[in-house]
């Protein structure tokens, strides 16, 4: 090697080298990309909501997302945190989830209240992302349901259910003129429908196992109605009706490993077994398991709400216990409780138990053996 070439060789200058502890490489995945993948998984259900409930549903989604983002920025300003926190996408996810939990026709101010409950009370008072013990969207839904029961149970029929589907969006667009919410309320009142769960709730229970008992829920629990429930052609919150769309989203979530599979599996499994047993013993008390699986907010909760990373147990065993607890509570509220639906309550109650569950379900390290006392490290 000649002298000239040797001189041309460039070597690293020590001063510019970064010193840090290993590992020196990282995944490219970050919180924002995780949140955007969750949004992607929500798209089928959101699309189904717009398909079945039209422009009003789109407006609710718009208001919820807008308010959640704005409130997040305002909080960050007040709390002296950088407003760029909003870029992590978690407020977007909360906004979308909140919308999915509201009736398809909801006034803008209800959305605003919901966003306040979700972002401020549900998340930021605890210190923001990752610190909240309760699912923000569930906090908002339950808060609104208790504060504004009338507004939160304005169930409108889906486009497939109305006689003149052609008029559908026109009628509801008019109804969704929220500057005149009183009139709108009247318009809606004229055409509200009951959700399958509220029909089940209001059906008198028959406590024997005769023929009448077996037929007690035939009107709402038959193969034809199951199909309608599956595709989402029924009354309900805007994002919860289409089991099909939610399942597609669920597959996306599972394939990106954004949720712990134990939660939907054990949640849905417990509901199926629990309602199956009750239906078997007293067929006049509750409809068959398939009815329970396909109606209400169960699917949405099992894949999108209960699975929230922050508020569910982190270990697989913990997630399974969490799912079973959710299932039992949901069934108890649905069958014997005062509300037709119980998923939001179940989620909040089980969220509160997460630290306890995690203590019970700690992982055992590889090669675990019971520690021998007083062993010097």
């Amino acid at each position: 090697m000649s002298e000239e070439i040797k001189k041309e060789i460039m070597l690293p200058k020590g001063e510019e080298l970064v010193l840090s502890s290993s590992p020196h490489i990282h995944v490219t995945e970050n919180i924002q990309s995780i949140m955007l993948k969750v949004v992607l998984a929500m798209l089928p259900a959101l699309a189904a909501a717009i398909w079945f409930f039209g422009i009003p549903a789109l407006l609710v989604i718009f208001w919820c997302v807008l308010f959640c983002l704005v409130l997040e920025i305002i909080w960050c300003r007040i709390a002296g945190k950088p407003a760029s926190v909003v870029k992590d996408g978690s407020a977007l996810v909360t906004g979308l989830l909140l919308a999915m939990n509201l009736p398809p026709v909801t006034a803008w101010w209800v959305c605003l209240l919901g966003a306040l409950l979700a972002i401020w009370l549900g998340k930021q008072v605890f210190g923001g992302l990752g610190q909240n013990p309760f699912n923000p969207a569930a906090v908002a839904r339950v808060g609104l349901l208790i504060a504004l029961p009338r507004q939160l149970t304005y169930w409108i029929p889906s486009s497939g259910m109305t006689a003149d589907a052609a008029n559908y969006s026109e009628v509801f667009y008019a109804a969704a003129d929220f500057t005149k919410i009183e009139q709108a309320g009247q318009v809606i009142d004229g055409i509200t429908c009951a959700t399958p769960l509220s029909i089940a709730q209001n059906t008198p229970k028959i406590l024997d196992s005769g023929v009448a008992a077996a037929d007690n829920f035939a009107a709402i629990a038959n193969p034809e109605s199951y199909w309608q429930y599956f595709i989402g052609n029924m009354g309900g919150s805007l994002g919860e009706t289409s089991t099909l769309a939610i399942l597609i989203g669920g597959i996306i979530l599972l394939s990106f490993k954004l949720i712990r599979w134990q939660i939907p599996l054990f949640y849905l499994g417990t509901v199926a077994v629990f309602t199956g047993l009750i239906h078997l013993i007293w067929p006049g008390v509750t409809p068959p398991p398939l009815f329970h699986l396909l109606t209400g907010g169960l699917m949405l909760a099992a894949f999108f709400m209960a699975t929230d990373m922050v508020t569910s147990p982190i270990t697989g065993r913990g997630a399974a216990i969490f799912g079973i607890g959710l299932g039992v509570m949901t069934c108890v509220i649905r069958i014997w409780g005062g509300f037709p639906e119980g998923v939001s309550f179940s989620i909040l109650l089980m969220n509160a138990l997460v630290p306890l569950i995690e203590r019970m379900a700690k992982l055992k390290p590889f090669g675990f053996r019971k520690p021998t006392p007083a062993k010097g490290a």
């Binding site: 040797k6 060789i9 460039m10 070597l11 690293p12 200058k13 020590g14 510019e16 080298l17 970064v18 010193l19 840090s20 502890s21 290993s22 590992p23 020196h24 490489i25 990282h26 995944v27 995945e29 970050n30 919180i31 990309s33 995780i34 992590d88 978690s90 210190g127 923001g128 992302l129 990752g130 610190q131 490993k257 954004l258 712990r260 990373m309 922050v310 569910s312 982190i314 270990t315 995690e358 700690k362 992982l363 055992k364 390290p365 590889f366 090669g367 675990f368 053996r369 520690p371 062993k375 010097g376 490290a377």
Partner: protein, 451 residues
């Protein structure tokens, strides 16, 4: 893609958990044959190169030494001697930048250019010799684990008599991204690795000897499979997953045995030795050659010609980089070892040691200096942890200073592989927090013992 197909008879095993970096960087150097570095003017041999007691220096300034001559003798059982990389004159003891960021003592040798060997020990007919003779030779030749830990090999070969060892596993996983030194050694010198494996098996009195290799080194696997039978050594393939080569994970993958918490591989009847170490053992036993050089991968995107080089101990990193044509651009990091567990360096004055498996330069764009965000409890770290720990919980305990609670989460079981911190989407310094917890707990235990 690999040109060679995987042999159908190859058993492919793995551990549970771990991560697989998508960009593993091996492509840069895996095709580059091992080259021998030309003789340098000066070598600065770091004295403390092995885990355990540093050897005691037996030469002084002005001494003439031959290549392979003893520079420092073992100071105790967990210690190995150190030998001269070439012939020349001892300039004396100097302080040079050490691999851990502090100055360290080195023996500076001015080469005389003759590169004359000292009188080497005679060859041992290992097939007919007893275990103690082999262990003694391995110790005398200064052989340590060359994968990274630099633990004296003869110590591993001497488990307490009450532990029955029946498995010798040669670690050819090389699961660290970017590194290809063991890959090239296994591919180019399969017989040396296999013979070394057989010798190590004999020295430990073990019949089951296997070389375990990740299946991204198909050519090396095939090269060894051809010759494995003549040394009575088995070859096992392993899934490409980090940290496949971590001792406990490797043992589990190959034997399905779990090394219990706080126990040693010998407790489940296993001894693990690195593939490069096996090659060095073969040379030591067959030719009496002490460990004075090793194959090191010099790589990274900023390196002009990444490659695998046979470098003598005491070669300054700057000289090693010159062999590769230097750098194209100013790198962001200089690392000794691989990107997952290697040590970042500030100076190119550090010299090659027995455990320098790689000299890695990372591009500025690859140097990740993130602000970490709060844990969103996604569970990526739990999935990644090969020890089935809960890094997210441990990290929060570290932030809260709750060292006692960390013990309930089995913090001392952490092998510090860094898979958790690699996988964390919030870029939390998980393994760094855990290291801190471990250090604090060790400190407290020491203080309690003193009381």
């Amino acid at each position: 893609m690999n040109e060679q197909a995987i042999n159908k008879d190859l058993k492919i095993v793995s551990f549970k958990g771990g991560v697989h970096p998508q960009k593993d960087g091996k492509i840069l150097s895996k095709k580059a044959s091992i080259q021998t570095a030309p003789l340098l003017e000066r070598y600065q041999v770091i004295v403390s190169q092995n885990i355990g007691a540093p050897p005691k220096v037996v030469v002084s300034a002005g001494d003439e030494v031959k290549k392979g001559q003893l520079l420092a003798e073992a100071a105790g059982f967990v210690s190995v001697p150190l030998h001269s990389p070439t012939s020349g004159k001892v300039e004396g003891l100097v302080d040079i930048p050490g691999p851990m960021g502090v100055m360290t003592q080195a023996i500076s040798i001015l080469a005389d250019g003759k590169d004359e060997w000292t009188e080497l020990s005679v060859s041992i007919d290992w097939r007919n010799s007893d275990a103690d003779t082999l262990k003694k030779r391995i110790m005398e030749c200064g052989i340590v684990g060359m994968g990274g830990a630099a633990f004296p090999s003869h110590v591993k070969l001497s488990p307490p008599p009450d532990k029955k060892v029946d498995y010798m596993i040669i670690n050819g996983a090389e699961c660290e991204p970017y590194l290809t030194a063991d890959h090239r050694v296994m591919l180019e010198e399969p017989e040396k690795v296999l013979e070394g494996a057989a010798i190590l098996g004999r020295a430990a009195g073990v019949k089951n000897v296997v070389v375990a290799v990740e299946i991204n080194k198909v050519d090396a696997i095939n090269a060894m499979m051809e010759k494995a039978a003549q040394f009575n050594v088995g070859i096992v393939g392993m899934k490409v997953q980090y940290p496949q080569g971590a001792e406990k994970q490797l043992i589990y993958a190959v034997t399905r045995r779990k090394v219990p918490t706080g126990a040693l591989p010998a407790d489940v009847g296993c001894i693990v030795q690195n593939a490069g170490t096996a090659a060095a053992v073969a040379e030591a036993v067959n030719a009496g050659i002490p460990l004075i050089e090793r194959v090191t991968t010099i790589t990274g995107e900023p390196v002009v010609n990444p490659g695998n080089w046979r470098l003598r101990l005491g070669t300054p990193i700057s000289e090693a980089l010159k062999l590769c044509g230097g750098v194209k651009c100013e790198p962001g990091k200089l690392i000794l070892g691989g990107p997952m567990m290697g040590f970042a360096q500030r100076s190119t004055g550090v010299s090659v040691m027995k455990n320098t498996s790689g000299i890695l330069l990372l591009d500025k764009s690859d140097v990740t200096q993130y602000e970490s965000s709060p844990c969103i409890r996604c569970g990526r770290c739990l999935e990644a942890c090969p020890m089935n720990l809960q890094p997210s919980a441990l990290s929060q305990l570290a932030e809260a200073g709750q060292y006692e609670n960390a013990l309930k989460y089995n913090v001392m079981d952490c092998i510090e592989c860094g898979a958790c911190a690699f996988a964390c989407p919030a870029h939390r310094p998980l393994v760094q927090h855990i290291r801190r917890l471990k250090a604090e707990i060790r400190n407290r235990t020491k203080k309690e013992i003193k009381k």
